[in-house]
Amino acid sequence: MKMEEMSLSGLDNSKLEAIAQEIYADLVEDSCLGFCFEVHRAVKCGYFFLDDTDPDSMKDFEIVDQPGLDIFGQVFNQWKSKECVCPNCSRSIAASRFAPHLEKCLGMGRNSSRIANRRIANSNNMNKSESDQEDNDDINDNDWSYGSEKKAKKRKSDKQCGVISEHTKKMCTRSLRCPQHTDEQRRTVRIYFLGPSAVLPEVESSLDNDSFDMTDSQALISRLQWDGSSDLSPSDSGSSKTSENQGWGLGTNSSESRKTKKKKSHLSLVGTASGLGSNKKKKPKPPAPPTPSIYDDIN
């Protein structure tokens, strides 16, 4: 085509650049024109000068560059030395401590209401424990009257671990199965607070054999189920198997109580074993009290 001929012959770099420049110039002119239209519209609509401010207010907000001041002209740490007068108690308070003081003074902040509520609750509890001495457990009573610290009042000894930590001197607030402390420690603490007759809050006494795996317990359970019927079969088998039950029961006890908390039937087995066995260590798992008695009859 003619054009192609033209292109092949006439073009070299400089010419191309010239053409490019012209194209560029056209584009720039287009942009200028567009810009003019924008400005004109802004002028006519009245918003052209909107982003300007008058020189007076410009001076007000100028950047400050003096030593000792920040760029807004404020002095650093200006509020440390200032003191305000509290309108409630008419005391002179440092400015940086003023807000928390006011909160406590007026009694309207989140913290102050919390403290007030706690005080009310404590005073209520004190009144209560004094009035119904008969109804409360002896343990609870001893707890209150033993002069434990303000914080320890809230903690009931039969729901929490309670072992006193060495470095903080506080009672451990975790549950009775807290892994950081052993039952011996818990017992010691309770004996210390409640006298030598104190018992750990669990009624059931089971072995501390936590080292039993599930697999071991499975084997034991299968051996226990002589008749192949339900879980109650070990007890059904009668007195001849009592001693064996004792032995196996003690073994399965802990693992059962650990893993199968929800199965009442297992609990009954556990209950039986606990009734029969002589166990000294306590485990934090209360059994169902009625069920052991049933099997006691059978055995």
Binding site: M3, E4, M6, S7, L8, G10, L11, N13, K15, L16, E17, I19, A20, Q21, E22, I23, Y24, A25, D26, L27, V28, E29, D30, S31, C32, L33, G34, F35, C36, F37, V39, H40, V43, K44, F48, F49
Partner: protein, 100 residues
């Protein structure tokens, strides 16, 4: 010369056809704003308007005043503008692709 004019016209036409011209224009606008060309021009506009009075400014006035200045400063910016590789490929060697 006529050939050049024709050449230019042909190139322009090609650009428009492919939509490349629009793209280039947008690109240029963005670059000019970045460079601060627009702010310069705006300052100039303000002066012109203050001279002429806010009420009596017309488009023609503005165009007549501003376009030359804009073009000059725009060209001054040219070395700073980097043409994208695609643009270069279009405008520089391999004309046959453009015109063929």
């Amino acid at each position: 010369m006529n050939k050049d004019a024709q050449m230019r016209a042909a190139i322009n036409q090609k650009l428009i056809e492919t939509g490349e011209r629009e793209r280039l224009k947008e690109l240029l606008r963005a670059k000019l704003i970045e460079c601060g060309w627009k702010d310069q021009l705006k300052a100039h506009c303000k002066e012109v308007i203050k001279e002429k009075g806010l009420e009596h400014v017309t488009v023609d006035d503005l165009v007549a005043e501003i376009t030359p200045k804009g073009r000059e400063t725009g060209f001054a910016m040219l070395p700073r503008l980097v043409l994208s590789s695609r643009t270069q490929a279009i405008l520089l060697p391999q004309p046959s692709r453009l015109l063929g």
